[in-house]
């Protein structure tokens, strides 16, 4: 299930500083999303760009709505 796979990979990155460092250096959004999907595959997870974008949008919305 892509969603579950993505959530597991998301948690894995938050626990793994070297994995974070490899993704932090990517400046452009599209390159970054592609790299996240690729890294996920390398680690045995199956999710797509849309799963990554959904999470990014969720956080962006939460930040914008922080006053409400």
């Amino acid at each position: 299930m892509p969603k579950e796979d993505f959530e597991q990979f998301h948690q894995m990155v938050l626990q793994d500083i070297s994995l974070q460092e490899s993704l932090r250096v990517i400046e452009y959004r599209n390159d970054f999303i592609a790299a996240v999907v690729e890294k996920g595959k390398e680690k045995g997870f199956d999710f797509g760009a849309e799963d990554v974008e959904e999470k990014m949008n969720e956080y962006r919305r939460a930040w914008i709505e922080r006053w409400f």
Partner: protein, 324 residues
């Protein structure tokens, strides 16, 4: 008990937001790395960090209690000094002068502190959560030695509670000729001058009444409320009153000593250099505007200031001068 390894994962991260999930407070974290808080406001630095793709996707989310674990296991820098103010009176200049030095962590109006202060929870809980949060902010990421917070202007109303949370922190209270502040808010109203935005400030003024009175009068009433709230603390051993007219020299002659700081000549030059720029818009040079603001003041603004805030301003001046 949190393991050292867990704490290490948060070393270069900062809380950026408090939110509630299933009736439980949570903290949203953002990776800052070695980035310092050098902008005029906390949120500007965070906003810039959030433009990075990594920070848009990877953010720790922890229960607020995790900040308590950090408090128990990793003490940050004890607060060196707090800045309270009534808005538009040079407080950002002071915070920017302090932020000019790499040895200082300077947080300017972090909304998370206000978020805790505004919660409808027992004071004891607020105090505990404030200590946790401030301790987390005070974790050095660049070997800093000093830690400062410039509070929101309306936090002056919470002085009693903040002092209970941080009884040893020296603080300054900054103010300015009220009519100049009223003109500044007339040009560009601060959130605190919009009726209903900051509820504790509006206490005693009905919503209808606040919209019926001229905005200058509402502004004067809010300024008066802030000034009144500091009066019970005028004898506090840790406070120094600062008038805008004393800036910037007073930073070197009084504020640094009040905060028990002794900076090198080179550091003082860096601070002096930062005073050339407009504190809120550093791309512009600073130009004194007291005279232009006084000239711009409408009759309503002058009358509102005279009737509502000037007596308190005079009292503040009297107290300040009595302590020189």
């Amino acid at each position: 008990m949190v393991l050292e390894n867990d704490l290490e994962k948060f070393r270069d991260w900062s809380p950026i937001r408090i939110y509630w999930r299933e009736n439980r407070p949570f903290v949203d974290w953002c990776w800052l790395g070695k980035e310092r808080f050098t902008d005029s406001f906390f949120d500007i630095t965070i906003q810039r960090q959030l433009s990075k793709p990594f920070n848009q996707l990877f953010r720790h989310q922890t229960p607020l209690e995790f900040l308590g674990e950090i408090y128990e296991n990793r003490k940050g820098i004890a607060p060196t000094g707090f800045i309270f103010h009534i808005s538009r009176c040079g407080s950002t200049l002071v915070s920017q002068m302090l932020a000019a030095l790499e040895q200082n962590i300077v947080l300017s109006e972090p909304p998370l502190i206000d978020a805790i202060l505004r919660l409808q929870i027992p004071d004891e809980t607020k105090i505990e959560w404030l200590k946790w949060l401030v301790n987390t902010f005070a974790q050095p990421r660049n070997e800093e030695k000093h830690f400062f917070i410039k509070f929101d202007s309306w936090s002056t109303l919470d002085l009693a509670l903040i002092k209970r949370a941080f009884p040893d922190a020296p603080w300054i209270f900054m103010y300015r000729n009220p009519v100049e502040i009223i003109v500044s808010h007339k040009r560009q109203p601060g959130m605190q001058m919009i009726p209903g935005q900051i509820q504790q400030l509006s206490a005693g003024i009905s919503f209808e009444e606040s919209f019926q009175m001229p905005s200058e009068e509402y502004c004067a009433r809010i300024l008066a409320k802030m000034c009144e709230s500091v009066m019970p603390f005028s004898d506090d051993k840790d406070v120094k009153f600062i008038n805008y007219t004393q800036l910037p020299d007073v930073v070197f002659t009084e504020i640094l000593a009040h905060f028990k700081l002794d900076f090198s000549t080179e550091d003082l030059e860096k601070m002096r250099f930062s005073t050339q720029f407009n504190a809120k818009t550093p791309s512009l040079n600073f130009t004194p505007d007291s005279e232009s603001k006084k000239k711009e003041a409408s009759e309503i603004a002058v009358r509102a200031a005279e009737k509502i805030v000037d007596p308190l301003y005079e009292k503040l001046e009297e107290i300040r001068k009595s302590k020189i």
